[in-house]
Symmetry: C2
Subunit: 206 residues, 2 copies
């Protein structure tokens, strides 16, 4: 139960989405995403995660803190499960492909809400906002550097790198919004076809 | 001022986004998008559109009705400014290109909030939700039929048509989220590059 504190240590070897604290954050994120931050009470969240209100406050100081913890957890997943493994890939086209695939996998493992809520940095207090924005920038830099390498080697279509990155992320975040875990389409099919869509949209001769 | 009623008549020749009533809806949508539906009061909206609260109630029965009117207005724009002109285009690849370009143009003219709020159909009462969903389906059918024609003629990549349509809309809606009217990128550049990204992602030999 007290493991929520460990979410701040992205160098731990276990998968970030596996423990009980992560389940609390993912369920809270889902509730906030469906009903809105203001319309969701700490009581609602405690009920949904099967805790007393006091039990929930053992994890978090309050709703604002919870929103920050959700975003920090999302960034743990991004850093541990996308940035760290993909940074090791030398060939930029393969790196881009693996970034997309790993990001989609994070969405499938954590549920879309966690991912979508990371867009709401403006709801955070300024100091916390700056931390999340800086962590997001690290990921964005990896993507921009990769697109830049592909542009230099003549593999990128005639696209502005910012527009390319924004369209890529919009497509990935789109999956977080439209994917239905119990729908007709399998995760593998969605991951394969969405990755092909993005790569073909960005690169020549796909 | 009483022209809000005419928003239900998509066969009127003027542009749907041009009159005062449309401005009220676009401003209200922007406020609701930025602050959340629950956190936005009718007072806030009245202030933002420079009306007394009584003046605002002349337009709309209340906040729920306003949300419906925003979505109905969005669908007026879709039907008048995307579906009607693009349905006339015989060649499916050109039809697809013009659907994307016209949709991006609607986003630039009305502002992104109007477009993004059409995702919130679950906030509507059931009867209103059904009307909006049916109107959206008409547009979706045009896109699916177009993708189906392209698949039949061997122009579409090896993609499920549903995934193709969802990725296409995610990219377009993404522009509604990330476009900053006063940013470095011009609308023309965003429209051209985003259209190329989507067409290349969907079609062979682009």
């Amino acid at each position: 139960m007290a493991r929520l504190a460990t979410l701040d240590k992205p160098d731990e070897p276990r998968s970030a989405a596996e423990d009980r604290a992560a389940q609390v954050l993912m369920t809270a994120a889902d509730l906030i995403f469906r009903n809105g931050f203001d319309a969701t009470s700490m009581n609602d969240i405690a009920q949904a995660v099967n805790l007393t209100k006091a039990g929930l406050y053992y994890y978090t100081k309050g709703k604002d803190d919870l929103l920050y913890k959700i975003m920090a957890f999302a960034m743990d997943c991004v850093e541990r499960d996308i940035v760290a493994p993909c940074r090791e890939i030398q060939e930029p086209e393969e790196r881009l492909r693996q970034i997309i695939l790993h990001h989609l996998n994070v969405i499938f493992v954590t549920g879309g809400a966690i991912t979508i809520l990371t867009e709401e940095v403006n709801k955070l207090a300024n100091a916390q906002k700056q931390i999340i924005v800086a962590r997001k920038r690290e990921y964005l830099d990896l993507v921009r550097d990769t697109l830049g390498q592909l542009k230099e080697s003549g593999r990128l279509r005639d696209l502005d790198i910012t527009i390319a990155a924004l369209n890529m992320f919009a497509t990935i975040l789109g999956v977080a919004r439209w994917h239905k875990p119990k729908g007709r389409l399998t995760k593998d099919q969605i991951a394969a076809e969405t990755t092909e869509f993005i790569l073909a949209g960005l690169l020549l001769d796909q």
